[in-house]
């Protein structure tokens, strides 16, 4: 049963990887990488059950959180080209209003 799930998950990971390689835009690649991360979590859980060491679920939980933070960070970086834009823009707008006045 777990072997079937692992085969399905690995096939899905390969498909997502092919989209990450082919994808015309950055966002296609990002969606594919995000999906790859989710499938990694599932693969860790299922392989832990397969080997008989379900303690690996802790690793899966860690991968979930790291995947989320990584996707959001890369999104933000692609959108703004900078991970600290808020502080920079706030400083700029304050300077601009002073200049206008």
């Amino acid at each position: 049963m777990f072997v079937v799930a692992m085969v399905g998950i690995v096939i899905t990971m390969l498909l997502a990887l092919s989209r990450a390689v082919l994808g015309p835009s950055v966002f296609d690649r990002l969606v594919a990488v995000n999906m790859f991360g989710t499938k990694t979590v599932l693969l860790i859980v299922v392989s832990g059950f397969l080997v008989g060491r379900p303690e690996w679920i802790d690793l899966a939980l860690l991968y979930t959180l790291v995947n989320f933070v990584g996707t959001i960070a890369v999104c933000r970086f692609v959108r703004f080209g900078n991970l600290a834009l808020d502080t920079i823009r706030r400083g700029e707008s304050a300077g601009g209003s002073e200049g206008g006045a």
């Binding site: 049963m1 777990f2 079937v4 799930a5 085969v7 399905g8 998950i9 096939i11 899905t12 990971m13 390969l14 498909l15 997502a16 092919s18 989209r19 835009s25 966002f27 296609d28 990002l30 969606v31 594919a32 995000n34 999906m35 989710t38 499938k39 979590v41 599932l42 859980v45 299922v46 059950f49 379900p54 679920i57 802790d58 899966a60 939980l61 979930t64 959180l65 995947n67 989320f68 996707t71 959001i72 999104c75 933000r76 692609v78 959108r79």
Partner: protein, 132 residues
């Protein structure tokens, strides 16, 4: 009873991996980004939920089940959020739809169109806008 649980776990896990493969095919075969997100969403929510539910049934009641529920909860919170942020970033970044607009869609700003019956886009959602 044990056999029933085993059978149910089997069904859930196989269904989950099937949905994963379907979503993977979707992300490869769909024509543009906004449709590919749909394929990714299927695997993120439905496939992961089914596979983890099967594992929960297999694990029985205990610490492992609690951890699996924790993983499921974290996945169900984070992956739609990540997808939403991604699509918003793509839309704000000016990524255009690649598929042609259907004929029934009218421009919401076009007053001469009148109260035409048909699919209308939400006001403010225009694909021809270029975002700065």
């Amino acid at each position: 009873m044990s056999l029933v649980l085993e059978l149910l776990a089997w069904t859930l896990i196989v269904l989950g991996s099937l949905f994963c493969i379907v979503g993977g095919l979707g992300i490869v075969r769909f024509p543009d980004f906004y449709t590919r997100v749909h394929g990714a969403g299927v695997t993120d929510s439905l496939g992961a939920t089914l596979v983890l539910s099967g594992c929960i049934l297999e694990a029985g009641f205990g610490q492992i089940t609690f951890k699996l529920l924790l993983v499921l909860f974290a996945l169900l919170i984070t992956s739609p959020t990540a997808t939403h942020a991604l699509v918003k970033a793509a839309y704000a970044g000016g990524l255009k739809l690649d598929i042609p607009r259907p004929e029934t869609v009218r421009d919401p700003d076009d007053a001469s169109a009148g109260p035409e019956v048909g699919v209308s886009l939400r006001p403010g959602l225009r694909f021809e806008d270029d975002h700065d």
